[in-house]
């Protein structure tokens, strides 16, 4: 066991550093072509890197001041499915622009009526000749307004049980019939989220990802990956300020002199440190090619309320000034690139979302209890019925 990160003189570090020295201002495309965007993928996209090498690449990229393209849906969630389930033509068409960030992706998954029950989605895709025709209404689509490619899950077989009749498609977001409406959150800001209306959207049949009926399998795999990607220390799904910055800020304004707040701050700090260790352990387990322990899946369950505590404590330390829009809690505020959550005030008002997005806290606890502890599964009386029948009964 060794809790040190790979040292400065680590032999695997040199070639990476050399590359960045030869390419001092790499474009995203150069980074992608060097395999640095998805180093754990097979060649030619990646470097078949283990977790240690991934970490080294992350660090060297940061040191060089280079940023990977902001295309999280492709890079963290969905593009990997093309390796396992895509056609060669799909890989050639989509992966290059996705990894270089030239084409932003979005996930057309959630629906207004669905909530936690994704498999109950109502968007229908009907086969007509060599196209599918799609009608439906999606919500919580992050980056839809910037995306070129949408990963759509829709129902192709309404008469099968709800998990079985779903399929996935790679949709051009400029196809006629797609309308995008931004969602304004409680802070009053437009954020990354959107509603997407699909009216008779025609998708060529060769944009089906995998086979018909594999939509549920693909979607849950992609969402699972998202959870792992969220294991950074920031309060908002890994982004934004962390407990360390909280304690520094509180010290700066003298708020730690209050005994009760001091105790709370210490508690949040410890929680933050331990969650950081938990994330490192997941990494180690993956690195050692051991089956990851439960800590990967439970990380979000713990990190989401932790993040809420971090920003809530900062907000509370502001007293009534915290109710003035844009008021900063601490004179010194770290900047995190173009991350909007690096603003404490925005992070606070956004924070209720962290126990809602990517699985509500309640669903996540069910998952942890059922998968990790083997407790009995919640019965879903509609799971085995043909979806169309369950839908008739409910209405």
């Amino acid at each position: 066991m060794d809790f040190e990160l790979p040292a400065e003189d680590h032999p695997r570090r040199k070639p990476i550093r050399d590359w960045f020295e030869s390419n001092p201002r790499p474009t995203p495309r150069q980074l992608a072509e060097a395999g640095f965007i998805v180093p754990h993928w097979p060649r030619p996209w990646g470097l078949e890197a283990d977790a240690e090498l991934q970490l080294i690449i992350d660090q060297e990229m940061k040191r060089a001041g280079a940023f990977p393209p902001r295309n999280p849906v492709a890079i963290n969630n969905c593009a990997q499915s093309l390796l396992s389930h895509g056609t060669e033509a799909q890989r050639q068409r989509f992966l290059g622009p996705a990894l270089s960030g030239e084409e932003t992706w979005c996930m057309l998954f959630s629906e207004p009526s669905g909530g936690s029950d994704l498999s109950n989605l109502r968007t229908l895709a009907r086969r007509e000749g060599d196209h599918y025709v799609v009608r439906g209404h999606k919500i919580w689509t992050s980056l839809a307004h910037k995306a070129k490619v949408g990963v759509l899950v829709a129902r192709t077989a309404p008469d099968l049980p709800k998990h079985k009749g779903l399929s996935q498609f790679l949709v051009d977001m400029d196809t006629p019939g797609i309308r995008i409406r931004p969602i304004i959150d409680m802070s009053g800001h437009e954020n990354e989220y959107n509603e997407v209306f699909l009216e008779d959207v025609r998708i060529p049949a060769d944009r089906l990802l995998g086979k018909e009926g594999e939509g549920w399998l693909l979607s849950t795999t992609q969402l699972q990956t998202e959870r792992v990607a969220l294991s950074r220390p920031g309060a908002i799904w890994g982004h934004g300020p962390s407990a360390r910055e909280l304690v520094e800020g509180l010290a700066e304004i003298g708020a730690l002199d209050d005994g009760a707040l001091r105790d709370e701050a210490a508690d949040v700090y410890i929680e933050g440190e331990i969650l950081r260790l938990l994330a490192y352990r997941s990494l180690s387990d993956r690195m050692n090619a051991r089956t990851p322990g439960p800590e990967g899946a439970i990380h979000k369950m713990l990190a989401a309320p932790h993040g809420q505590r971090v920003v809530e404590l900062a907000k509370r330390a502001q007293g009534p000034r915290g109710m003035i829009a844009g008021e900063k809690p601490f004179p010194t505020q770290l900047e995190h690139g173009d991350d909007p959550y690096s603003d404490w005030d925005y992070a606070f008002w956004f924070s209720p979302a962290v126990t809602l997005g990517v699985g509500t806290q309640e669903i996540l606890k069910n998952v942890v209890a059922e998968r990790m502890l083997g407790l009995p599964r919640e019965l879903d009386p509609t799971a085995q019925l043909p979806w169309s029948e369950a839908r008739r009964k409910a209405s």
């Binding site: 207004p112 007293g319 009534p320 209720p352 509500t360 919640e378």
Partner: protein
């Protein structure tokens, strides 16, 4: 002995609820970028004036109804329940200050106008840190002819921009302590700037004073402020208890309707138990507030304690309930177009104004210690 509301109380509450449910709509606030002005702030006030609520606690000698904090709680609760935007609260705070602290002359000049609905008031007491207790560092008053001139700043003035007259706490240079002054808001030396207040159902301002004329209230700070603070805390607690109750109802209704995995989410224990907890805390808030109302109306020795306890409990319960409500509504509950965030913001604002729940707890334990000693 009767710990319950009487029939008159219930009737008053019922009529207020009927009125507000008919007249108050938050729809205009559900549009992003909406401000308190869009929310019917002025129009609601006209309607309220039509019912005479602004004269509720004014003595009959000054054309008011001379009712107690118990009756007031019926009205204030319903205002809190609907988040009704209007200059009611600022006027109430100013009325209390004048009625308790003003000279007979000052009261005669101002209060009948308030009772008639032609005059609006506000109370400017907090510093920019939010503190309303203790010495005043940011505004000073010095004698000038027969009166005073005030210079400096006040913060967190509820309904400050709408007010015709202000009651302002400032450091009296001559007396060497904080005192309260009656200030005409219409004069050149008074400027009220709206804060970008997150709770868009309420108008909250910063105040800048530059050689503004003022007249000192008769009662000194150390006699006026404790009395006034108890009532302010009670008022915020009353709004909060009723808001919690509303959040509970609205969330319970949603939990009965919203279906996931084939049954209403209210059938899942996680939701069920959390609503049971919310109900428990809502009931506690309500009873704590009513006790404070009674203790204040009786000028009971435990009145200060009761008001601080009610503020601490009800505000904390309201914040928790409104936050939890967003979670139960799911992602949609976190968007601007729903009212959940309006309740959450009111809850947080009420909690922070005039001393947080933790501050109130510190005051409570101090009072208990002193009594024990």
């Amino acid at each position: 002995m009767d710990f319950s509301l009487n029939e008159d109380n219930l009737l008053l509450r019922e009529s207020a609820r009927t009125f507000l449910e008919k007249e108050i709509s938050l729809a205009r606030l559900q549009v992003p970028g909406a401000t308190v002005t869009d929310a019917g702030y002025a129009a609601n006030w006209s309607k309220i004036v039509g019912l005479g609520w602004q004269g509720l606690v004014i003595d009959e000698a000054y054309d008011g109804l001379g009712l107690s904090c118990i009756e007031l709680a019926m009205i204030l609760g319903e205002m809190g329940r609907t988040l009704a935007p209007s200059p009611f609260l600022g006027t109430l705070f100013g009325t209390w200050a004048l009625q308790k602290g003003g000279s007979d002359e000052q009261k005669k000049t101002i209060l009948p106008g308030v009772a008639a609905g032609t005059t609006k008031l506000a109370l400017a007491v907090a510093e920019s840190s939010g503190t309303a207790d203790g010495p005043c560092r940011e505004a000073r008053a010095h004698r000038h002819g027969g009166g005073y001139r005030l210079t400096g700043a006040k913060s967190f003035v509820i309904d400050g921009a709408a007010a015709d007259w202000l009651v302002v706490a400032a450091h009296d240079d001559a007396a060497g302590r904080r005192e309260f002054f009656l200030v005409d808001a219409g004069q050149a030396g008074v400027q009220a700037d709206l804060l970008a207040w997150r709770d868009v159902t309420r108008e909250v301002c910063d105040l800048r004073l530059k050689d503004a004329e003022g007249e000192r209230l008769a009662l000194q700070d150390d006699e006026l402020w404790p009395w006034l603070r108890d009532r302010i805390l009670f008022a915020l607690a009353t709004e909060s208890a009723a808001g919690t109750q509303r959040v509970l109802e609205m969330t319970t209704d949603y939990a009965k309707e919203r279906v996931a995995f084939g049954k209403p989410i209210g059938g899942y224990q996680a939701i069920k138990h959390s609503l049971a907890d919310m109900l428990g805390r809502a009931e506690c808030s309500t009873v704590g507030v009513l006790y404070a109302a009674w203790a204040l109306s009786e000028e009971h020795p435990r009145a200060s304690l009761a008001a601080a306890m009610a503020k601490a409990f009800a505000c904390e319960a309201y914040v928790a309930a409104a936050h939890r409500s967003i979670q139960i509504f799911g992602a949609i509950g976190f968007t601007w177009e729903m009212v959940n965030h309006l309740y959450y913001k009111r809850a947080r604002a009420n909690a922070e104004l005039f001393g947080s729940p933790r501050t109130q707890r510190a005051r409570v334990i101090e009072m208990v210690e002193k009594k024990a000693a």
